[in-house]
């Protein structure tokens, strides 16, 4: 594929990822693992797609837009990271993915703001009782601002970013400590996702459960799926005992 064609296809994929997140949630294409995996299929390097997507997935685990708060765009990060990391350039890919995700945070605020247009147009349609007009607006335009806010940066980066990336990669070779820094930062980033999860859970009320999970992994070396199943069992027992007492 010529670079412009690839840029176009990846821009469309970015649009689909946004749309899938907004409504259908058929495959959660906005998750970096999925966004990266499919990008890998498109550019013919599934392994890199899985490596970049998997790494960003773990970095962003638990980082959600609870109630519309803005977070970095790891979706676009995964698409661009996979594209520029293909062919064994994982380090370059991941090093570009994180700044790209952070830069697009501002774009997210902008598109959520610009979406005022739809609600104000909807008010006018409602006052005129024009449900057909409102339906046309919803089906054809209500996802355009959000979709293009991701598709355009992806298109520009893929179509015109190559020289920049070449410069970055020679810079990397000259200064190996940059890679070490990026690797360490990547390992540390998942801490924010877990912290965000803890923030929405009543940690202070039930600290013992947190400790239980830690012991299972740190001392008993239990695999993750085992810990999750254990959690389900403990929650079941806890509620059985608790509500048994109340009913008796």
């Amino acid at each position: 594929m010529s670079p412009i064609l690839t840029a176009l296809v990846l821009a469309i994929w970015a649009y689909i990822c946004v749309y899938d997140m907004l409504a259908p949630m058929f495959i959660l294409a906005n998750r970096p693992l999925i966004a990266g995996f499919v990008t890998g299929l498109i550019v013919g390097d599934v392994q890199t797609g899985m490596l970049i997507g998997g790494t960003l997935e773990l970095m962003s685990l638990g980082v959600y837009t609870y109630g519309g708060a803005t977070v970095p765009d790891y979706t676009v990060g995964a698409i661009l990271g996979t594209y520029f990391g293909k062919g064994g350039n994982f380090d370059i890919g991941i090093a570009l993915a994180v700044p790209a995700a952070l830069l697009l945070t501002q774009v997210d605020i902008l598109n959520r703001f610009l979406n005022f247009v739809y609600v104000h147009k909807a008010d006018r349609f409602a006052e005129e009782g024009d449900d057909k007009g409102f339906e046309r607006m919803m089906v054809w335009t209500s996802h355009i601002i959000w979709g293009l806010s991701r598709a355009i940066p992806v298109f520009l980066a893929v179509a015109f970013g190559e020289p920049v990336v070449k410069g970055v990669s020679s810079f990397f070779e000259a200064f190996p400590w940059i890679n070490k820094g990026i690797t360490a930062a990547g390992g540390l980033l998942p801490a924010i996702g877990f912290a965000m999860l803890l923030k929405i859970l009543p940690v202070e009320k039930y600290p013992a459960f947190l400790l239980l999970g830690f012991v299972l992994f740190a001392y008993l070396k239990m695999p993750l799926l085992g810990i999750a199943l254990f959690g389900v069992a403990v929650a079941g027992i806890f509620q059985y005992v608790k509500y048994q007492k109340q009913e008796a």
Binding site: I34, A184, L189, L198, V203, Y206, L224, G231, Q239
Partner: protein, 275 residues
């Protein structure tokens, strides 16, 4: 306002598919999911309000602020709302239902779906993908598609059947119990997943000369081994709690904490303190 029109299964499905394809489109800071919700409900609103002036009022009313969890939340509210429309309820009642349910359901839905279910399947899938196993992402997609479709379809049909009883059955503590269950699983999972996924170690070591049996021997002590002896995974645990403290007690925004982690991680890694 009571009308003779009956809601059929086909009407519910019309709303359901509109919701599936548009629920959060047009999301904005002012009224969040309002346009998507209104769009999803229009077929029923139109059928139950045949008078054009009356329909206009229903249309305007349903553009009010709306925001809840779009997976576990919106379809439940829609089902109950459809039942109320069929019963000829007033706008006060239907708006009261939406406002009364969207807050609690957002809490339950975010915990169950975002925090718990997604985190578990996607962390396991990501680890499979990092090992080069394409079944990881494929399994994740399958485990999203079918359960998400099933839970969303079930909610709208169940809530419609429960109708006006929904508020009482939810008020009876069912939501409280589900949330408590999810909270316990969530805490156990985070307790185990956080140290396994956050990776922070130090290669720092120091050497000291010691005289053993008259010979000078150089002993190398690695800091990581010392830390592990006190508490395994001590650095990842401390990093996670630092972030939690900054978010919760210092009210930092997630982006600010992320930038801090990038800076600390990068400098530490570049200088050889971490790695």
């Amino acid at each position: 306002m009571a009308t003779k029109a009956k809601i059929t299964h086909a009407d519910i499905m019309k709303c359901f598919w509109r919701y599936i394809f548009m629920s959060q489109c047009g999301w904005n800071y002012e009224r969040m999911q309002s346009v998507g919700y209104c769009y999803s409900m229009l077929p029923v609103l139109k059928k139950m309000h045949p008078d054009p002036e009356d329909f206009k009022e229903a249309f305007i009313t349903n553009l009010n602020f709306f925001n809840t969890n779009p997976v576990v939340g919106t379809p439940l509210i829609m089902g109950a709302h459809i039942a109320l429309e069929e019963a000829g309820a007033s706008y006060d009642t239907t708006e009261g239902l939406k406002v009364g349910l969207m807050g609690p359901l957002a809490g339950v839905g975010d915990t169950l779906v975002w925090a718990l279910y997604n985190s578990i399947i996607f962390s396991i899938a990501a680890i499979m993908a990092l090992n080069g196993n394409a079944m990881g992402p494929i399994m994740a997609m399958v485990l999203v598609f079918f359960p998400y479709m099933a839970i969303r379809y079930w909610q709208i049909t169940w809530a419609y059947k429960e109708g006006t009883h929904l508020l009482t059955s939810i008020g009876s503590g069912a939501i409280g119990r589900i949330t408590e269950f999810a909270t316990i699983v969530g805490l156990i999972v985070i307790g185990g997943f956080a140290p396994s996924i956050v990776s922070l170690t130090t290669p720092l070591a120091y050497s000291q000369g010691a005289v053993i049996n008259g010979e000078t021997v150089t002993q190398t002590v690695t800091v990581q081994a010392q830390l592990d002896a006190i508490l395994p995974y001590m650095l990842p645990v401390l990093a996670t709690f630092l972030c939690y403290w900054l978010l919760k007690k210092k009210s930092w925004s997630p982006v600010k904490v992320i930038l801090m982690l990038v800076v600390i991680g990068f400098i530490g890694g570049a200088l050889g303190i971490f790695g």
